[in-house]
Symmetry: C2
């Protein structure tokens, strides 16, 4: 029998899960559709049933706990609080309900924190005590390790770099304020930058007249040396690099990992980010921070991160 | 016999020290002039001699360790690295030399970190795991507790909020860059703000024509309801409040303590700071952070903080 934990990645559409051993090997997996369930109770019953059936189908494993990564997840309360992209409103006491229904330990945190724990337990940060993971997806999420511990803060919501204000009176953010980092440095943010640059007639760009531009389009254009696309990456890297220089003055990480959609653009996003970060760094910190890609594969990172949370707690 | 630690506060001009018991009571004290010693070795010999003699003069105490707060102090190496306002250049391996000369444990950190540890061990943060102390003196120093630990980061220099860039291309900072928080939010920063506002002829202010304006002058003018002085506090609070809202998104502290010269201006600095912090806070954090005065008296805080560092380490 191999002990495994069920790592669950709750998304607005799907909830994939995997059975992960203490070395980070995924020994089995499954998924249910989150959006099929209007009532949380029905969702949870279906999820636990599917997990039990999937576990039975894998030879010689025993599920000893649950780790959950969720939007607006709060580690302290184990709850999902008013997640805008889930159908269940209010405060969902998720991990408590899993515990009471299964009799097993269950831990929950938000997606970016789960990614950070995944990096620490199974990825490229195994030997690091101080690092930051920045997920550049639709928004910008972050998980921060300080002195070997994930930073939760007094509320459980610490590590919201995406909602630090970096441009006074800048772009409108979904949070209701203006100028948040994620309105610039994210897959959505770079599209906004491209649209702004397209308003500038001095460019001849392959992106002109294109509909539904996304960050993959912009990447392809950059690879083809489209000046506008390259300038959009440069600007995104400038905003992100300056924010990372400020983050370094705060917690002095050994490394900052870039993860998610936009990070897959490789040198197009890494190079300007590193350049502007170094240019804006206090002397003490220059050259002390590695900016690295995540060590986890994007399609399994969320499940591994959620599982890592549970393994981490069990081993405490 | 009462066990005490010698808390030493190394300043550019003087090095006051005190013998502090485990409850934070100062049972004796003394001082030598830092600036009298061109060579570090001579300074250290004089300091340790003075400490030994002062300790002998106090009844029934036994010095069991040394805690040192110093500009540009690095906790990891126990060294003072290129402190601009000290005469000894390069890297001074301070705590190592104290250890080898006395045979007792010695710990060193920078002044703002010592203040944070002082607040945790002897001040108003005894029951807090997550808090920030901001010292508003000539510059802006900060010490940050996360999850019950002081944040040192990978380099030992974490917690440099004074050198986060808050105004792109803003005021020239002593660090060589522009727009650092401490060029606005500090005793020096508010003087710069007043001088800028004095250039605006629409004010009739008691500060017009005054030479050598300092933050105490500005405070006195504010108390007398001088509009320019009040506007200078409002602007300082705006910049500081926004920076604290961003700091909250990072570490979600339970409280932020304001300390040092400018913090003594009471409501004139606290009120605009709190107002702008709350206005610029992500919803999750609104109302979760107390902005408080330090629980330590200014004239003993540095010595108590240095002593607290040593007590904290001894009790680990």
């Amino acid at each position: 029998m191999t002990d495994v934990v069920a790592g669950i990645d709750i998304g607005g559409t799907n909830s994939p899960f995997g059975f992960v051993d203490s070395d980070g090997k995924i020994l089995g997996k499954g998924s249910i559709r989150t959006s099929d369930y209007e009532m949380f109770e029905d969702y949870l019953a279906a999820l636990l049933k599917e997990i039990a059936e999937s576990a039975n189908a894998v030879k010689d494993i025993r599920v000893i706990g649950y780790g959950i990564g969720a939007p607006n997840g709060n580690y302290y309360t184990g709850s999902i609080d008013n997640a805008p992209n889930l159908r269940w409103k209010g405060k969902i006491l998720f991990s408590e309900m899993v515990k009471s229904k299964t009799g097993l330990p269950a831990y929950l945190t938000n997606d970016a924190n789960a990614a950070a724990i995944g990096e620490k337990v199974f990825g490229n940060a195994k030997d690091m005590n101080d690092f930051i993971i920045v997920t550049l997806g639709t928004g910008l999420g972050s998980g921060i390790f300080c002195g070997g511990q994930l930073l939760y803060g007094s509320t459980g919501f610490a590590g919201e770099l995406g909602h630090t204000i970096v441009v006074d009176g800048g772009r409108q953010c979904g949070c209701g304020r203006r100028g948040c980092l994620e309105t610039y440095a994210s897959a959505t943010g770079i599209v906004k930058t491209v649209n702004e640059l397209l308003g500038n007639n001095s460019y001849t760009s392959s992106l002109k007249g294109k509909e539904n531009i996304d960050s993959k389009f912009i990447y392809d254009a950059a690879v083809a040396e489209d000046k506008l696309a390259l300038d959009a990456f440069e600007y995104t890297g400038e905003i992100l690099g300056k924010a990372l220089a400020n983050a370094t003055a705060f917690s002095s990480p050994e490394a900052i990992f870039l993860f998610g959609g936009l990070a897959n653009s490789g040198k197009y996003i890494f190079e300007p980010t590193i350049k502007h970060m170094e240019e804006n760094m206090l002397n003490n910190f220059k050259g002390t921070v590695k900016v690295l890609p995540s060590g986890l594969k994007e399609n399994t990172a969320a499940v591994l991160g959620a599982a890592a949370l549970c393994w981490n707690e069990i081993k405490k």
